[in-house]
Amino acid sequence: MRDLLACVAALAWWVTTLAAPALLWAQGPELTASFTPQIEFNNHIEFGISVDPSTVSASRTSPQLRGSRSTLEALVEATHDSPRVAYRLALAPSVENYSGEGGFLDQFDGTRLPLAASLTYRPWQAGPGLRLRAQATRLTREAAIYDNWEPTAEISVGEFASYEFRRRVFDDSDRREDYLLISSTRHQGRVAGRILHGAKTRVDTSYRLQNERYGTNLSALLYIATQVPATFRREDTRHFVDATALRVLGSAFLVEVGVSGMWNRSNTDFYDFRTNEASVTAFWSAADGSWLRVVARRSWLRYGTRDFQETFGGPASVRRDSAWQGVLTGEWRVAGDVAVTASADILRNRTNDSREEIDFLNYTQAIYRIGVSAAY
């Protein structure tokens, strides 16, 4: 079944990638471009090295990496839209430059090059469209350990049903301590529904089912931590459920409350966990296109059996984390197609384990961003 889905996804990927540019060329596309320079300060940068000390090799005295990231992103889009069909081709290269920690962060300097294409066909003018989407992203960093390709294909019916195939392929297959640095294949199905009440109230719900299989190039450290044989291939099945309720409270203001849950079931219980989130969002927009959004979020993480205390020789207890998060984001239109964006994102995480070795999970992360977006 998985192989059949992969074949369908590969076919959809090639059809979309080849047909969208050809159709755009024939129809005469509308071209748009935008540029977004941005600078960000982050006091808790994570790249798969500042996490669980029992499964990482990077030895540092502090788990908090502080630094800034300067990004320059361009977006070039070619689109064509008619009542029956729509095509889109987008290229969004970006360059990232890190600074901080005495030059340690320079290894994360890199470039991203996503290329996306989509074809939408609407059999009925008032009904949902059938959409094929293909994307390929190349990521490179100074530290070649992160270099990878990521092709994605998606087939969707309107906004209520979709299937997505994603493959992540790293350039090398050296032994790794982090599953984020290992090639993987993911299948995802999604269904969504909406409940409407009048012009000002709506509830959105969705369910996603994910299956992901990982490569086997793990380091010995990870085999020890997870207590699985060297031939083990990790495979996860994930269930995501979310619901949001939105109410428009005025011509320029709305609020939204949301809950979500995720249940990860792996073929080794070391990776069994579930998370729950609850959030409240307030959104304000002005007639000139400026907007402001405030989000408060509470989340809980609970592992099935992962036991830090056991690893470090203490009394047994299953790990549980909880976090508070506040995000303030805004965009101000300073001229017709020029906008200034800014955000502040504060997250405070706490774990139930009081041992010193695990204290790195009791952290407060602050991310501040400011940028300018200019469209043509």
């Binding site: 996503p114 989407r133 994307q135 409940i195 009048g198 959004r293 965009e331 995480n349």
Partner: protein, 86 residues
């Protein structure tokens, strides 16, 4: 207890569904319209007729979603070290 909750939830879903009208909207959503003032106006009408603040909210939510960083750890269910264990 779990069975009771499931039955209650099922009754609630069926009751709510029975009060509404299921349709595929022009925005591509499978929607259950429960009526109310200006019934159907939220999504049955073309986007240009919807509440301006709602249009701005949806546009901002969808902006760049399909070109988002696949290597990013940001996003829902990514707090509290969850991403670290992927």
């Amino acid at each position: 207890m779990r069975r009771m909750a499931s039955v209650t939830f099922a009754i609630l879903v069926v009751s709510v569904a029975g009060c509404g009208r299921m349709s595929l909207t022009s925005s591509g959503h499978l929607a259950l319209d429960l009526g109310g003032a200006s019934a159907g106006a939220l999504n049955a009408l073309p986007p240009r007729h919807a509440e301006p603040v709602l249009q701005a909210f949806d546009a901002q939510q969808n902006d760049g979603a399909d070109l988002s960083d696949p290597n990013s750890r940001a996003g829902a269910n990514c707090a509290g070290g969850v991403c670290a264990i992927f």
